[in-house]
């Protein structure tokens, strides 16, 4: 038996990340961090067996390896073909965010003014294309005011206030979830603003409010994020992440 009394915050985040993909079906899941990768693999091994998962390079796994491990493959998905999948919509990406605002605008480009930023990061990467083409979620391992800001400096992934309802080109925009080390959120608050779905065990509404620059809807009503089942814990601890990489990404 796996001991469910010592479940860590990282393990709760893994399950919340897996839940992002519930109902996704036969699409390409593209998690961009350790916790979300474990989560997507957990979903595939439990309730979403049809998900397609890549090695983060160019190969689709036929079987699911532990983090950093190898497994037999079932297909080929080089970068050029990923863009075809993006445009077709058969993908759900879980990106990181250097900044995220209440409408879901995300920044991973740079801080400060556009043409002369104070700090340069990656650039907008695939965020503009992801967010206008298919389901997008975000994972933030350290929930704080520096990330959850009133306004992002450079809009990389687009939020709900950017949608032009007169232009059908925006019809595929769908921000699904935000998972942080404090809770699980969506954008079904007033005017498609961020809303609390659940807070992780031991996290108070006050703590979330104090760690966020804007008001999050539904904080008082939010339930508790579910714990991993025994089966899920066993898979996380013995199959997917025996070396405990998850604890390095979310420490509390």
């Amino acid at each position: 038996m796996t001991d469910t009394t010592t479940v860590t915050r990282a393990e709760i985040c893994v399950v919340a990340a897996a839940e992002i993909f519930r109902g996704a079906g036969e699409i390409m899941a593209s998690p961009m961090s350790t916790i979300t990768t474990i989560g997507a693999r957990l979903a595939r091994l439990t309730f979403e067996p049809d998900l397609l998962l890549s090695d983060g390079e160019a190969l689709f796994f036929a079987e699911i390896p532990p983090i950093g491990g190898k497994a037999p493959i079932e297909g080929w998905i080089p970068f050029s073909k990923v863009f075809d999948v993006v445009n077709s919509g058969r993908r759900h990406v879980v990106m990181g965010a250097n900044q995220l605002d209440k409408y879901g605008n995300q920044n991973l480009s740079a801080f400060g003014p556009l043409q002369q930023p104070t700090r340069q990061m990656f650039g907008v990467r695939g965020a503009p294309g992801n967010t206008i083409n298919h389901a997008t979620s975000y994972f933030v391992p350290k929930h704080g005011k520096r990330v959850f800001v009133d306004q992002v400096d450079i809009v990389s992934g687009i939020g709900y206030d950017k949608i032009d309802s007169e232009n059908p080109a925006y019809r595929f925009h769908h921000l699904h979830r935000v998972v942080s080390n404090l809770g699980v959120f969506d954008y079904n608050g007033p005017d498609h603003t961020m809303r609390a779905l659940s807070l992780h065990p031991g996290v108070s509404a006050d703590e979330v409010a104090e760690s966020t620059s804007f008001e999050i809807a539904g904080l008082a009503e939010a339930g508790e994020t579910r714990l991993p089942t025994e089966e899920e814990l066993t898979i996380i601890r013995t199959v997917l992440d025996p070396k405990g990489f998850r604890e390095k990404e979310v420490t509390a």
């Binding site: 970068f79 445009n87 232009n167």
Partner: protein, 291 residues
């Protein structure tokens, strides 16, 4: 069939300041680094660079060779991830940037390859991409209705290149070439988008050997896509290529060296103000020192 072998310096001799160049590969993977190093040794400047950026763009920025950059990202792909020289050029406002979605880069190259002025794409709408382009990026209204309305899309302009540079693992002297890694990146599109097309390869072999060495599907370039071929063993170093991994220690060395003018001067003298052969020898010596 023509023998298209050239030296790195002969290739650079065909370039002029002010050109728009495309650099193949992706991030810190299979970058035409030998060409980049040759450019650094030349007096070619004022370049517009199109790239899925990594240390290729960073190194060109380090020497002040870049006027304008078209890119979706600039990443070293592994820790410490951010390129120090690109970051410096951006935070000093030294270069004009046309940042865009990754898919838009491919779209622009496809338009150029097809000799079209633009191709429509959804990516970019609603994001800061249009602000980055300062009016240079236009939208187009679909002549066909979607859900009873006319869709407005980004009109991604053709990324027409004066010259393209790619590095593949294996090729022949005529310009047929293959990758031996897992991903062809967009190297074929870069070549199809350019006036002058230059290929470097780790290993130059006879055509007969080339076609036997790889699955035919890996032959991503054929000779009508290539004007010059350079044999440059380790030509993608320190980025990943088919037969060698990214040199993580050297990449860290590059980032560390960029931190002070003194350490950069040292790095430059040892690795950049030298010939490609001397560079490869210095890299070997560096690896020995790390043991």
């Amino acid at each position: 069939m023509r023998d298209k072998r050239m030296s790195l310096d002969e290739v650079v001799g065909e370039l002029r300041s002010g050109m728009t160049i495309g650099l193949g590969g992706w991030g810190s993977r299979r970058k035409p680094m030998a060409f980049v190093r040759a450019l650094l040794r030349s007096d070619v400047a004022d370049l517009t660079v199109v790239t899925y950026g990594g240390p290729d763009l960073g190194l060109l920025c380090s020497a002040g060779k870049v006027r304008k950059a078209y890119y979706g990202f600039v990443s070293l792909d592994s820790a410490p991830f951010y390129d120090p020289w690109f970051a410096k050029a951006r935070t000093e406002g030294a270069i004009t940037v046309r940042e865009m979605d990754e898919g838009m880069v491919k779209c622009g190259l496809q338009a150029a390859a097809a000799r079209l002025p633009f191709l429509p794409i959804r990516a970019g709408l609603g994001s800061a991409v249009l602000d980055f382009w300062e009016g240079e990026l236009k939208t187009v209204q679909s002549p066909y209705l979607t859900d009873g309305k006319a869709e407005t899309l980004v009109a991604m302009p053709a990324l027409n290149l004066d010259a393209a540079f790619v590095h593949l693992d294996l090729g022949d002297k005529h310009g047929n070439a293959a990758y031996t890694g897992v991903d062809p990146y967009m190297d074929d599109l870069y070549m199809l988008s350019a006036e002058k097309r230059y290929l470097s390869v780790d290993r130059l072999v006879e055509t007969e050997e080339l076609v036997k060495a790889v699955p035919t599907q890996a032959l991503v370039l054929n000779r009508m896509m290539v004007d010059g071929v350079v044999e440059a063993p380790g030509g993608a170093h320190f980025t990943f290529a088919g037969s060698y991994g990214r040199d993580e220690k050297f990449q860290r060395h590059y980032v560390e060296a960029a931190k002070t003018p003194e350490s950069w001067a040292e790095f430059k003298a040892r690795y950049l103000d030298v010939s490609e052969d001397e560079y490869q020898a210095a890299v070997k010596a560096f690896a020995e020192e790390q043991k």
